[in-house]
């Protein structure tokens, strides 16, 4: 199980949870599980083709998966996965 941190703007979609423990050996599997449990997130995180939306950054242990292996980036138990959309407020 990895720990997936949910940004506050998306917490309403997961019942207010700040983080979730989710199974999956890759970002694809973890995000797939997340969307399976909370289908309303699907439209926010993924494109119609199932890719990550470009406006949501995903980090594994502080590293952007875009510079690792994208959705195929491996995720180990006890890894920290963080979803991070840009913020506008100033």
């Amino acid at each position: 199980m990895s720990t997936v941190f949910i940004p506050s703007v998306l917490r309403a979609n997961v019942g207010g949870a700040k983080s979730l423990e989710l199974p999956g050996a890759s970002i694809r599997a973890v995000v797939g599980e997340l969307v399976a449990q909370h289908p309303s997130l699907g439209g926010q995180l993924l494109t119609e083709d199932g890719d990550l939306n470009r406006f949501v950054n995903v980090y594994v242990n502080g590293q952007d998966v875009r510079y690792l292996a994208g959705l195929d980036t491996p995720v180990a138990a006890s890894d920290e996965v963080r979803l991070l959309p840009a913020m506008a407020g100033g």
């Binding site: 939306n53 949501v56 980090y59 952007d64 100033g90």
Partner: protein, 408 residues
């Protein structure tokens, strides 16, 4: 057995190695830490280039800050070569193993026709006002003079810009530009502490200017009462040393990013949402730019501004001060900025998290390819980088016909 001055001097001469001004001048850069042990009033009249100043009366307390390595060469000088001999004895007692005194002191240096620097001298009022800065070796009067000659631009005099502006002004950043076209609303006052209740309805740039000058009258406040758009961004940011991005729209953030990268100006970025904030410093070509971090803005429902989503007032306060801290480091050239790192702040948990950022090798604005294209006078076009590049600019950015490099 009492000792006379002559006895003490003889002793010091026998213990301390002496070097001539010519020998000091011939040293390769970095071969020695040269320390001027005269009084501040003498230092202000001129000193050896690259020398540090620690007056003899503070030598025990302050030498470790300028010469932390006790086995590295330290050369002391004073006006005539006597005080530096005695100061060198003190360093020997402290365990410094390679200390020399420059014979003849600064008088001999000048007499030999060697080059010397004259520092910018702060006024008596400035010395008092900035005394807590002057006591820090990493700032000192040279650093304070640098701040007084610096120009910082704030995009927005709102939740982030308010605390940043106040502290930059207090710190003596000589010119503070403020871009804001808004007027003060009573709902701003929960966090925008540069404004006051009796200024509701006033222009924010004017209100900010009054508060800044009440705090520090010598700050030159430049009011840019207009919305930052592609057509004016280059003109507005020109000549500033650092920019603090505290806007609340993605469009402005992208437009600013593209122009600042092209102009080579660091941007200290912060954004806030309810109890959370994000902060990083974009130093062009040293770290990523805003487009590397967020190639595309989220749809509006995923990134509401403060007026829609709300924000705990202290969150922009904390993030704005961290922006001011980054800006001061950029201006002083000290420490390490957040270039290449994104700092997340969670006020509910009182938790800071750091993420690693990278330059996108395909970035349409700051990649080598994009720079080369601008330099060649053929900036990347929207078509060449794909049509999902938001807020593409027409002047400095992607579709431009004239690159800033070509015009410079």
């Amino acid at each position: 057995m009492p000792k006379s001055y002559a006895d003490l001097l003889r002793e010091a001469r026998s213990q301390i190695r002496e070097v001539t001004p010519q020998e000091v001048e011939a040293l390769p850069p970095g071969a020695a830490t040269v320390v001027d042990v005269r009084e501040a009033s003498e230092w202000e009249q001129g000193h050896l280039p690259g020398a540090a100043h620690v007056s003899k009366s503070y030598i025990e307390q302050q030498i470790e800050a300028v010469a932390p390595d006790r086995d590295a060469q330290v050369i002391l000088y004073c006006a005539g070569g006597v005080r530096s001999l005695f100061a060198a004895q003190t360093l020997n007692e402290m365990g410094y193993t390679n200390v020399a005194s420059m014979s003849g002191g600064f008088q001999a240096w000048k007499g030999a026709g060697l080059h010397f620097d004259t520092p910018i001298v702060l006024t008596a009022e400035q010395k008092q006002r900035y005394s807590r800065h002057l006591l820090i070796p990493e700032v000192g009067s040279a650093g304070q003079a640098k701040l007084l000659g610096s120009r910082a631009l704030l995009i927005g005099a709102g939740g982030l810009g308010s605390p940043a502006a106040l502290y930059l002004a207090a710190a003596g950043v000589g010119t503070i530009g403020i871009v804001d076209f808004d007027i003060v609303d009573v709902s701003n006052l929960q966090r925008q502490i540069i404004h006051t209740t009796d200024r509701v309805g006033e222009r924010k740039v004017e209100s900010a200017k009054r508060t800044i000058n009440a705090l520090n009258p010598e700050i030159n406040v430049v009011a840019h009462e207009e919305m930052l758009v592609a057509a004016n961004v280059e003109r507005i940011i020109a000549g500033y040393d650092v920019i603090l991005d505290g806007t609340d729209t993605f469009e402005t953030r992208y437009i600013l990013n593209d122009a600042a990268v092209a102009a080579g100006i660091p941007v200290v970025h912060a954004s806030v949402f309810r109890f959370e904030g994000q902060l990083t410093t974009f130093v062009p070509f040293e770290g990523p730019c805003y487009r590397c971090l967020y190639p595309t803005p989220p749809p509006p429902e995923l990134a509401p501004g403060c007026s829609v989503a709300g924000v705990l007032g202290v969150v922009p306060g904390i993030l704005g001060l961290l922006q001011a801290n980054e800006a001061l480091k950029v201006l002083l050239g000290i420490g390490h900025t957040l270039a290449g790192r994104l700092l997340l702040f969670d006020a509910l948990e009182t938790e800071f998290t750091e993420l690693k950022l990278r330059r996108d090798p395909e970035c349409p604005v700051c990649s080598d390819k994009a720079v080369a294209a601008r330099k060649a006078g053929h900036p990347l076009t929207v078509d060449s980088v794909g049509n999902d590049v938001p807020f593409a600019m027409t002047m400095t950015g992607l579709a431009g016909t004239v690159s800033p490099e070509a015009r410079a």
